[in-house]
C-alpha cells in the first residue's frame, strides 16, 4: 500500500508541476528542483567482513515548493537504488518577516548539516556525511527526522548580525530491526515517542552563511524489532545530546566542525543503565579556483568502546580520515572523488567513492 502511495505522489507531482520555477498567479509562486546523483563505491574488505565490496548508487531527490501569501508548502521525496521515501512534508506559516512556523515532517534542527543540505548532494562538498549527521537509513545513530511542529525565528542584533532560534517538538524514530526508523507519514504506525530539538545560532551577517551555535536534542526511542536490543533486554532509550558547531568561510577556505556529547539512558526489562560517548568532526575545504575544490575531514568518537547503545549499530563509522577533490563543470554538474580510511567497531578498511551530482533545472 505504502509503496504505491509513494509512486502515485511522484507521478502526480511530475504531472502537475512544470519543470521550471513558475509564477502561478500574481501572489503565488511554485518551484521544482531535482537533484541527481550516481556513482560507485569501493570498500577494501574481504567477503567475511559482511560488508559489500562494490556498490553503485543512483538517486534522485525531488523538492517541490509552493508559496502563496504567508502560506508555504514544501515536500522532498527521495528515490534511489537504496530507498524510496517521503523525506519532508511541511506546511508553513510566515508569522512575520523573521518568524515561520512549520507543521509536518522535517529534518531535526539539532543536526546542522542536515538542516543546511538536506538530501541535496550537489550542494554539499563531500560525498559522505559524518557519523552524527547521517540519516537513519544510511547508518545514522541519532534520529534525524521529526514529525510535528517547528518554529524558526531570527532576532536582529547590532549591525547586520543575527541570532537564530529553531525549536521543534514531535514524533521521533524507533529502534527498528536494522536501523533507526523515523515516523513515516505514508505508513503511520503507533509506537513513536517524542523528541525535542533546539538550535541556537549566531550569524555575524544574518544574510550570510557563517555561523556557530549550540545544538540540543532529547529523544525517547522505543525498541521495535531490533535483535541486538532484544538480546540486551532493552525496551527503550532516552537519548540526550548537546553539541557545538561552526560553519565558517574566509576567502577560499571553509571550515565545518561539530562536537557532540551523547548520553543514553538504556531502559531495560530489569534495570536502567546510562552510557555516553562523544563524536567530533572537522571538515576543511579549499577552493583552488572557480571549478576545483579540495577537501578533507577527520572524524573521531570517544567512549565508543563502553557504549552498549553503539553496539546496536555494528556498521557505524566511528573514525574516518578522508581526502577528496571536487570538479564543477558545465552548468550545475559536479564530479567528486573521495578516499577514506574508516574504522567500525570491529573492522577497519579503505573506502573510495566517485560521484556525479547535478541539479535541474
Amino acid at each position: 500500500m505504502a509503496i504505491y502511495t509513494r509512486y502515485w505522489i511522484l507521478f502526480i507531482v511530475a504531472l502537475t508541476a512544470p519543470f521550471h520555477d513558475v509564477s502561478a498567479g500574481h501572489d503565488s509562486h511554485q518551484g521544482l528542483l531535482v537533484f541527481l546523483n550516481g556513482g560507485p563505491v569501493y570498500n577494501q574488505v574481504t567477503s567475511e567482513d559482511g560488508i559489500q565490496e562494490n556498490n553503485f548508487i543512483l538517486g534522485t531527490d525531488i523538492i517541490y515548493s509552493y508559496l502563496k501569501g504567508d502560506f508555504r508548502f514544501l515536500a522532498e521525496y527521495i528515490l534511489s537504488t537504496e530507498e524510496s521515501e517521503l523525506e519532508r512534508f511541511q506546511l508553513g506559516w510566515q508569522a512575520d518577516e523573521d518568524t515561520i512556523g512549520w507543521l509536518g515532517r522535517f529534518h531535526s534542527p539539532s543536526r546542522y548539516w542536515n538542516s543546511a543540505y538536506h538530501h541535496g548532494l550537489y550542494l554539499q562538498t563531500s560525498i559522505t556525511r559524518p557519523l552524527v549527521e547521517k540519516f537513519e537509513d544510511e547508518g545514522g545513530i541519532v534520529p534525524t527526522h521529526v514529525s510535528g511542529l517547528m518554529l524558526e525565528a531570527m532576532h536582529k542584533l547590532q549591525g547586520t548580525a543575527g541570532f537564530q532560534t529553531t525549536f521543534s517538538f514531535g514524533a521521533t524514530s524507533v529502534i527498528g530491526e536494522h536501523e533507526l526508523e523515523p515516523f513515516d507519514v505514508l505508513d503511520a504506525r503507533s509506537g513513536h515517542e517524542a523528541a525535542v530539538d533546539l538550535r541556537l545560532a549566531y550569524l555575524p551577517d544574518q544574510l550570510g552563511e557563517n555561523q556557530f551555535g549550540l545544538l540540543l536534542n532529547w529523544s525517547n526511542m522505543v525498541v521495535d524489532g531490533n535483535h541486538i536490543a532484544e538480546q540486551q533486554g532493552l525496551e527503550s532509550v532516552e537519548q540526550g545530546s548537546v553539541g557545538v558547531y561552526a560553519d565558517w568561510r574566509k576567502q577560499d577556505w571553509r571550515i565545518l566542525a561539530n562536537l557532540t556529547y551523547i548520553t543514553n539512558q538504556m531502559i531495560k526489562q530489569v534495570q536502567e543503565q546510562t552510557d555516553s560517548f562523544s563524536a567530533v568532526y572537522i571538515q576543511a575545504e579549499y577552493e583552488l579556483n572557480q571549478d576545483w575544490k579540495v577537501f578533507g575531514r577527520i572524524e573521531d568518537t570517544a567512549g565508543a568502546d563502553n557504549s552498549e547503545y553503539l553496539e546496536l549499530f555494528p556498521f557505524a563509522v566511528l573514525e574516518r580520515q578522508m581526502l577528496g577533490l571536487r570538479f564543477d563543470f558545465y552548468t550545475n554538474n559536479a564530479l567528486t572523488v573521495e578516499l577514506s580510511n574508516v574504522k567500525l567497531q570491529a573492522d577497519e578498511f579503505g573506502q573510495a567513492w566517485l560521484q556525479w551530482t547535478a541539479v535541474l533545472p
Partner: protein, 148 residues
C-alpha cells in the same frame, strides 16, 4: 576644410558623444507605475534577492531578475547581492531546499519583464535607466549603480 581634418573631427565628436552616453549609464531599481512601493534600502533589496522575506503592507515583496544582458547581470551581482554568479546560484538553491522559497523568476526580454511587473504590484526589478524611462508602465524607485 581639409577632408582628413574633417574626418578626424567627426571621429572625435562620435567618440565624445559615446563617452557622454556611457557616463550617463545607470542601473535603476524599478516597479510597476501602479505599484504602491516607494523605496527599498540596500539591505532589504539584498534580502529579497537572496530569498528572505521582506513585506510591505502585509504583502511579500518579490524580486524579478532581468537577464537581458551580461553587463547588467554583472552589475546586479556586484551591487545588489555582492556575490559571484556561482555563489549566488548556490545560495538560491539552498534557500529553496531549506525554506521552500522559489528562486526569483528570470526575464530575458524587457517587454516580458515590464508585463510581469505590471501584474505583480509588490514586485521589483532592475534595468538600464534608458529602458525604464522609455516605458510608461514602469516607475524608477532609485538608482542602484551609475558609471563613474
Amino acid at each position: 576644410m581639409n577632408p582628413v581634418r574633417a574626418m578626424l573631427l567627426c571621429c572625435m565628436l562620435i567618440l565624445l558623444s559615446m563617452e557622454v552616453a556611457a557616463a550617463d549609464r545607470q542601473v535603476v531599481l524599478v516597479a510597476a507605475s501602479t505599484s504602491p512601493l516607494h523605496n527599498l534600502d540596500s539591505l532589504e533589496l539584498r534580502k529579497i534577492y537572496l530569498g528572505f522575506i521582506v513585506k510591505r503592507d502585509g504583502e511579500i515583496v518579490k524580486g524579478l531578475r532581468n537577464t537581458e544582458d551580461n553587463n547588467l547581470n554583472s552589475i546586479f551581482l556586484q551591487t545588489v547581492v555582492a556575490m559571484s554568479e556561482k555563489s549566488y546560484k548556490n545560495r538560491l538553491l539552498s534557500q529553496t531546499l531549506r525554506q521552500g522559497i522559489p528562486r526569483p523568476a528570470e526575464y530575458d526580454r524587457i517587454e516580458n519583464l515590464s508585463a510581469a511587473l505590471s501584474t505583480k504590484p509588490y514586485s521589483v526589478s532592475y534595468m538600464w535607466k534608458d529602458d525604464a524611462v522609455r516605458s510608461s508602465k514602469i516607475k524608477i524607485l532609485r538608482v542602484l549603480w551609475h558609471q563613474n
